[in-house]
């Protein structure tokens, strides 16, 4: 799942370590989230959205696969 974490963090001038402390996770976790290697739990996603004063939908962008949309359905749309 793609996300805007890096973009919003940079816009705020925060380091990964600072963001990690704000949402009470490790810096390694923020790094994994930004690289899209890890999708957060709902509580963590809500915490991140709150920190950036936005919504989960604005922060995280699901792929077609995440939404369960097949290649055939994609071509129809």
């Amino acid at each position: 799942m793609d996300n805007r974490l890096r973009e919003l963090r940079a816009a705020n001038g925060w380091s990964q370590a600072h963001l990690a402390d704000l949402v009470d996770v490790s810096r390694q976790t923020v790094n994994a989230l930004e690289k899209g290697r890890y999708d957060p739990s709902l509580p963590l996603a809500f915490r991140l959205a709150r920190i950036f004063s936005t919504t989960i939908e604005d922060l995280f962008v699901p792929s077609h696969e995440d939404l369960g949309i097949t290649a055939d359905e994609t071509s129809v749309h």
Partner: protein, 144 residues
């Protein structure tokens, strides 16, 4: 963070490797882990030096190093309890790799035993394989 040619990231001077929370959790872990592992090392050396291997009680003395390892286990358990969801997931996944490697190694030694090939070090080899697989997979995840 900079993007490298391979798409991986590297930290810049301005990007600290540890957050304040990371340091707090790491220090809490080391505060319990280091005394326990030092106690293990001391007891191991004492048992190696002092215990008469021919004694009928040698088996009991050789269980003593296990006691401080309980402390190591407790320290790691508390580390996992304090860790966030990603760190916990990574730890469980890599421990599963270690467990699978240990099971595989014990199976190999089991069949070697059936074939009449036995060794006194079987337990240590299985332990070593499991821990090595755990650590290697942990290192691999950490480098991604």
């Amino acid at each position: 963070m900079d993007q490298t040619e391979r798409g991986t990231t590297r930290r810049t001077e301005a990007e600290p490797a540890w957050s304040a929370g990371d340091r707090q959790r790491r220090n809490a872990y080391f505060k319990e882990f280091i005394p326990a592992i030092l106690a293990y090392a001391v007891i191991l050396v004492l048992v190696l030096v002092l215990v008469d291997q021919e004694s009928s009680w040698a088996w009991l003395w050789w269980q003593l190093p296990i006691l401080p390892m309980v402390g190591v286990g407790v320290a790691f358990y508390r580390f996992l309890r304090q860790a966030d969801e990603y760190i916990r997931t990574v730890q469980f996944q890599t421990m599963a790799v270690g467990f699978a490697a240990g099971i595989f190694a014990s199976l190999v030694f089991g069949f070697l035993g059936i074939a009449g090939i036995t060794t006194r070090a079987t337990g240590w080899v299985v332990f070593g394989v499991a821990v090595a697989a755990w650590m290697v997979s942990l290192g691999w995840v950490g480098r991604r």
